[in-house]
């Protein structure tokens, strides 16, 4: 492996959060951003083709090492995890925030047909949702959006990686045809 790639690998390994090209460029000034991005991708490809238990994944605007998804049953045993702790109401609310952001609580309530206050509070506490600002209408309601943590937890590079709602509608109609 060439030395530059090795250095980047070490940086990603030691970084606390997903390591971005920008951050790498700040440390590794000899390389341009496109060069770094190329090396990152090459590294990710190396890990992928190696077929080991670890992959280099692009999430939340950076790269991080994580276990390969197929290893989940074993690693889960080590960590003693319980299945996901997201309730259906939390997932619905999160989906609405993710797709409709910036969004205020009243909109979410209207779509779900129920009060979302408690669920939103929980999502804020889990840092999946953040307060973006206040809307300039009477009452100055809080505007919500998804956080960087949301991208990290759901393994998304950025919000554009979310399946589009149109895709979903197609998905649903094709399902109905099958039935």
């Amino acid at each position: 492996m060439e030395e530059k790639a090795a250095i980047l690998e070490a940086l990603i390994f030691a970084a606390e959060a997903p390591f971005s090209v920008e951050k790498a460029a700040g440390i590794f000034s000899e390389l341009s951003k496109p060069e770094i991005a190329d090396l990152f991708r090459k590294l990710a490809g190396d890990y992928e083709s190696r077929g080991g238990g670890i992959v280099l994944q692009e999430v939340a605007g950076g790269f991080r090492f994580q276990t390969r998804i197929e290893m989940a049953p074993w690693v889960g045993r080590l960590k003693n995890v319980r299945p996901a702790s997201f309730s259906p109401s939390a997932m619905e609310t999160l989906a609405i925030v993710a797709y409709r952001q910036p969004v205020i609580k009243a909109e979410i309530d209207k779509i779900r047909g129920v009060d979302t206050g408690g669920v939103l509070k929980g999502l804020l506490e889990k840092k999946l949702v953040r307060i973006v600002g206040r809307k300039d209408v009477p009452g100055k309601p809080i505007i919500y959006g998804t956080s960087k943590r949301f991208l990290e937890v759901f393994n998304l590079k950025d919000l554009s990686e979310l399946p589009t709602l149109r895709e979903m509608k197609d998905f649903r109609s094709s399902e109905e045809i099958e039935e």
Binding site: Q66, A95, V114, L165
Partner: protein, 253 residues
Amino acid sequence: MSYEIKLDVFEGPLDLLLYLIKKNEIDIYNIPVALITSQYLGYLDVIRSLNLDLAGEYLVMAATLTHIKSRMLLPVVSDGEDEEEKDDPRAELVKQLLEYQTYKDAAGLLSGRPLLERDVFKLGAPPDTPSDAVEKDDIPVEADLFELVEAFRRIMAGLEIGDALEFSAEKLSLAERINEIMEILSQDGQVSFSGLVAEKISRKRIVYTFLAVLELIKLRMATVCQSEPFGEIRLFLAVKEEGDSSVVEIAEA
């Protein structure tokens, strides 16, 4: 006191309506309002018979359905404007249902993604929970309110009250019981529901335990899991790292 009804728990009136539409294999663009309304009201009766608090939203939807039904019964007065004639009283509701369905699907897709700390794991993740926390083949699933009610009913049924008189001068407070449970949880990380009411304890204490468990779930300080239908309900500590604040301030019950 006997509960015989098994009810799916819905996320709200729209969820319930979508369920009814799916169950009856109805075309969402042509909803038979009379049928759906009567089934919807039937479900509300079930919820009421369980003495559960009925969220106001359900009642609003019941009113909306009834309103649509009555509007559909009225003859359409043609005043020459075609657009007015075609105005279907159900349109608004259908739009709302479709939109809700879209986000419900989106939520499903989101849950299907590889989740951190469930499907993939990164370096420097939180430390292991005690290794004896969950037995090997005891893979928990989420238990719902009705199972908790059922468990409570079972314990009450098993309690031999007989004709013994209770001279209980024990003073109980909900906050105290919550703190006791939190203490057990912060020590062991988990406890079974029957474990909490294992010793021969009074009816009153069981009620307080049950209320405390509900309160803890509501406060998101604990989660309940159940590995199989009618299986043991386990209580887990929800927040681990901020766990030191086991003292809860709560109004005296």
